[in-house]
Amino acid sequence: VQRLIILRLAFGLIALFTSAALLFSWATSPPAPVAARTAGDSGAREAALFEQRCGRCHAREELLEWLGRRSDADAGGALLEFLGEHGEASNRENRTIVVYLETLATPP
């Protein structure tokens, strides 16, 4: 009886911890590039997020130009760092914005 209860509890905890691991992965992994999404997904959500978090002070072209001037491979990382220091968005939102801008900056 007791062993069964403890076994169920252990399985419940394993499920809880696995869910937490999935949440962690979702929160810390970058979103897929806009261009890699399905044709129906135009990137409108990312554009709206950009407008909400950055658009009041910065034009999209301004940041695209800044990205274009960077020749190093980690331009996205530098931009992510900048956003982390200057905005109130979460890490995941910042990543989404960086991926959105990088996608726009990359020639098709």
Binding site: V1, Q2, R3, L4, I5, I6, L7, L9, A10, L13, I14, L16, F17, A20, A21, L22, L23, F24, S25, W26, A27, T28, S29, P30, D74, G76, G77, L80, E81, N91
Partner: protein, 467 residues
């Protein structure tokens, strides 16, 4: 013991008052249990949560890689928390019972191994090679990770197979502790050497705190607590042969007042020159929980292994021993019921002796049925005492013999469903049921009781050979 005191205030006991006191104490324990369980879950998720909030990684990392990292953090915290489950922290073990924590420790150890295996499989499946598990190859992070993995695999395998391999308990216990320390240090080395999430202070702090907590508990368990124990010696008052290969030791405290306990609880006994150098053995306390004038305790020990067969009979009056207790949740003080059914197999009767003597001393008039299974009369201990108790309290004795004399008129064979039908009192869900004996017997009886309609929460047992 708080529960014992709660019940003892009234003597002789009024049934409703006793039920109320036990119910109140049980509610308090339930609340404390919930708090401790919450703390455990919070601890297990702490490194993962801090890593997610700090999130210092700016490079592109895929979902699978992050999932692997998450599994690693969870395994890390679970392994760090494992020792806390079996380190005899009284405040933590009181709500659950030591044997429940030991079983939980076992299951979560296996769960930690599963998370450890999932860690590289999810993180780097495309470039995972057997060579990555070679502790002699690669950088510090890879080596430390491989060492932790193999040691954990060895630890879990040795625990699961100890019985089949006939690995002596003392040797296994020593190896278990040593491996646990090495695993904790190798894990810490791996996490710090990877230097991704731990590159930021909060994550670094939480990972170091996990392992430091583990090591501090070990230091307390194998150092400070043994020093305290050494300063509170007990001595053998008498050592009596009870028949059936069983001896009862009476021990009294020397220079201190001993401790209170609840009937059915157990304590760890160390014999030899010092508790620092001796292994400890868990034994049920078989005396009344109502204190004797000299605060003495009794333990009834059956000869099973080297320690009980050779050391115990040689303990003469005046010999120093060390007692760490009380522990366990197998006590009628926690079980509000209008009466009790006690089912004993062989030496499993020892905690019931304590319960019955305590009921007598408290004037507890609730009805009790004791079904005592043994091979034959030669294996029965406390026969005279139990028969005397049956005249003093509301106790019905049912002897069940596996191989009785030909003229035996009572119950014979193993305890079965038909036998339970004959003796289980009505209303069944108003009673509490305690089972103590060989593991196979307890498994069987628990199942029979459940099938007989006894609510599972009313069936109590205690197992110590979980490894």
């Amino acid at each position: 013991m708080r529960l014992g005191r709660a019940v003892r205030r009234r003597a002789p006991l009024n049934r409703n008052a006793a039920l109320g006191a036990v119910l109140l104490a049980a509610m308090g324990l339930l609340f404390r249990g919930i708090v401790w369980f919450g703390l455990y879950v919070a601890f297990a998720l702490a490194p993962l949560t801090v890593a997610m909030l700090a999130d210092p990684i700016v490079a592109d990392r895929g979902f699978a890689l992050e999932l692997g990292v998450a599994f690693g953090f969870i395994a890390y915290a679970l392994i760090s928390a494992e020792f806390a489950l079996v380190s005899r922290l009284r405040a933590a073990s009181e709500p659950f019972g030591t044997d429940s924590l030991m079983q939980f420790h076992r299951y979560m150890g296996i769960a930690a191994l599963v998370f450890v295996c999932a860690h590289p499989l999810a993180a780097v499946p495309e470039r995972l090679e057997l060579a990555d598990f070679n502790p002699l190859q690669g950088g510090l992070a890879a080596r430390a990770g491989a060492i932790a993995f193999w040691l954990l695999l060895l630890l879990v395998a040795a625990s699961l197979l100890r019985g089949r391999l006939r690995f002596a308990y003392e040797g296994w216990q020593l190896m278990h502790r040593l491996l646990a320390v090495l695993i904790a240090l190798a894990m810490l080395g791996h996490v710090l050497a990877v230097d991704r999430y731990t590159s930021v202070l909060p994550v670094r702090v939480v990972t170091v705190v996990c392992v430091a907590g583990f090591l501090l508990l070990l230091l307390d368990y194998r150092g400070l607590r043994l020093l305290v124990l050494a300063r509170r010696p007990w001595e053998i008052a008498w050592n009596r042969d009870e028949g059936g290969d069983t001896r009862t030791l009476s021990v009294r405290p020397v220079g201190h007042r001993g401790f209170e306990f609840a009937p059915g609880q157990f304590a760890w006994i160390a014999t030899g020159r010092s508790p620092l150098t001796s292994e400890q053995h868990p034994m049920s306390i078989s005396s009344s929980a109502e204190r004797l004038p000299d605060n003495s305790l009794e333990f009834s020990i059956k000869a099973f292994g080297d320690w009980s067969r050779e050391t115990i009979p040689a303990l003469l009056p005046g010999t120093r021993v060390w007692i760490d207790g009380p522990f366990g949740a197998f006590t009628l003080d926690r079980a509000p019921g209008q009466g009790f059914v006690l089912i004993a197999g062989g030496i499993g009767v020892t905690p019931f002796r304590s319960m019955l003597l305590t009921m007598r001393d408290r004037g507890d008039r609730r009805p009790v049925i004791l079904l005592y299974a043994a091979r034959d009369w030669s294996r029965v201990v406390f026969r005279t005492e139990l028969e005397a108790l049956a005249r003093e309290i509301d106790l019905r004795l049912v002897w069940v013999f596996e191989e009785p004399e030909p003229d035996w008129q009572g119950e014979r064979g193993y305890i079965n469903a038909a036998m339970l039908e004959r003796y289980l009192p009505a209303p069944r869900d108003h009673h509490q049921y305690f089972v103590c004996g060989p593991i196979a017997m307890m498994d069987e009886i628990e199942e029979l009781l459940a099938r007989a309609g006894i609510p599972r929460g009313h069936i109590h047992s205690e197992r110590f050979n979980v490894v």
